[in-house]
Amino acid sequence: MAIENISLSGRKTAVTNKDMSFWERIYLVQIVKGMMITIRHFFKKKITIQYPEQTRTYSPVYRGLHVLMRDEEGRERCTACGLCALACPAEAITMKAAERTKDELHLYREEKYAAVYEINMLRCIFCGLCEDACPKEAIFLTKSQKHVNVGTNRESFIYGKDKLVISVEDGKNKRYN
């Protein structure tokens, strides 16, 4: 037997030029067969999610938008120690420290705080090393369970403290804990 004629997959059929019969020619059986498959799917559970009306629940370890935490008294935990910026492989974090004054005791937990804290979301790769490095449990990627929004200009991706720090109420209610 010649190699051309052997079916290695077992699915090889010879192409023939045979004329179709009457039933085959009107395609009715084939159409009914196909519609059966289509109709069956109407009654199956739907896989699609109607985003943005519906959203899928994230895994508890999903790393998304960063949050800067406050403690249970509503004071910012971040002390601008710079370890997150040091750990960041993408160099996305910049900060500027300032000293806490006497009438800011209720705002900041430590003597020093971050006057400016910026994350460049265009650079960020969401690796979570900043969260690992933080000695004050101030920055978290897993707690917001949110994406970083899309934008039309580059400035909108520089997230300052106004977008990162959680509200005082959330801190006191321990919403993110």
Partner: protein
């Protein structure tokens, strides 16, 4: 005189201390020091970090010394055999000393300006599996203002007396000292007298912890974000040889040059240290070398890279100059030179 430290034999002058002999050998056998400072006289024997085991007293009296000896104040004797890094007893004692030092030392490294170049931090990290067992309230002091240049954090002090010895030996009138005894001992200027001697800034450099820090650099930047450069200037008061800690073109901090044991090579005056914070004031010699395991080296991917040349229009890659905008840290605007460069680009 012949002395053997960790199996290394060295010939030294009579009167040399064990620590100095160990430093001549170098390497692992050099004990850590917190209070000893080779540039200051009569400085040492207080912190007990440099304990060594002397397994053979001398050639004439070969008995081992029964207790561990502080190497910085123990003179060598002929034929002495010392175990430093090879002695488990000495290492255990050093760990215990470190734990004692950390009892009252606040763990505020994220706030402290010394973090990254702190001897106590290095010492504590050298302790394997260290966990504090201290649960009581730590000792705290009222913050005290000792002048416009030096920030005193008494909570962080380990009472090494280095700054007191320095003020005694380098400046004519010492205005600060250790007040109180035992647990109440503290560095103070007595009725908050400002320290204003021209060489008082060196106290910042000799302080092994963050108790005395530079007020002009306070919370400006972390140590590891700055790049150290050797620089000098023509100074009428001191040698003028310093390390500049730069961030871009900005001089963030000026310190004296420190050797491998973090000891100042030459003391500098306050004028160099605090008043010349412009790059134009200095002749920059070049980047300063730092230790391989220094925090300055962490996450540092800078190495010589070949410039990749892509044969397309430069504009495609970098954009036009007039479109370049400062999007990050916008509260800190461009400085004069940068503004002029942008203006020039816009005009073209």
């Amino acid at each position: 005189m012949k002395v053997t430290i960790d199996e290394h034999t060295i010939e030294v002058e009579p009167g040399t201390t064990v620590l100095q002999a160990a430093r001549m050998i170098g390497g692992d056998c050099v004990p850590p020091t917190m209070c000893y400072y080779s540039k200051l006289e009569d400085c040492g024997g207080k912190c007990r970090c440099c304990l060594v085991e002397i397994s053979k007293g001398s050639e004439r009296d070969p008995r081992p010394m029964p207790k561990l000896q502080p190497s910085c104040v123990t003179a060598v004797q002929d034929g002495m055999e010392v175990k430093s890094a090879t002695s488990p007893r000495a290492l255990e004692a050093r760990q215990a000393v470190t734990e004692f030092l950390l009892i009252n030392h606040p763990l505020d490294c994220p706030v402290c300006d010394q973090a990254g170049e702190c001897d106590l931090q290095n010492l504590a990290y050298g302790n394997k599996n260290f966990k504090t067992r201290y649960i009581e309230q730590k000792r705290t002091y009222e913050p005290e203002d000792i002048g416009p240049y030096i920030q005193l954090h008494m909570n962080r002090c380990v009472l090494c007396y280095r700054c007191v010895k320095l003020a005694d030996q380098l400046t004519p009138e010492r205005v600060h000292g250790v007040i109180g005894r035992g647990d109440h001992a503290q560095i103070s200027t007595y009725i908050s007298k400002a320290i204003d001697n021209n060489f008082s800034g060196n106290m910042i450099d000799v302080c092994p912890v963050g108790a005395l820090t530079d007020k002009t650099f306070r919370f400006e930047s972390r140590v590891w974000f700055n790049k150290p450069f050797n620089a000098h200037r023509d100074c009428p008061h001191c040698s003028g040889k310093v390390t500049l800690w730069m961030f871009g073109d900005h001089v963030q901090r000026v310190t004296a040059r420190k050797d491998e044991y973090h000891e100042v090579e030459e003391f500098i005056c306050n004028e160099c240290r605090f008043d010349h914070k412009k790059a134009e004031d200095w002749v920059i010699e070049g980047p300063r070398k730092f230790e391989k395991d220094s925090v300055l080296n962490v996450n540092n991917y800078t190495r010589q890279l070949k410039k990749v040349k892509i044969d397309t229009d430069d504009l495609v890659l970098e954009g036009r100059k007039q479109d370049q905008k400062k999007i990050s840290m916008s509260e800190f605007p461009f400085d004069q030179a940068e503004m002029e460069a942008i203006k020039k680009a816009n005009e073209e």
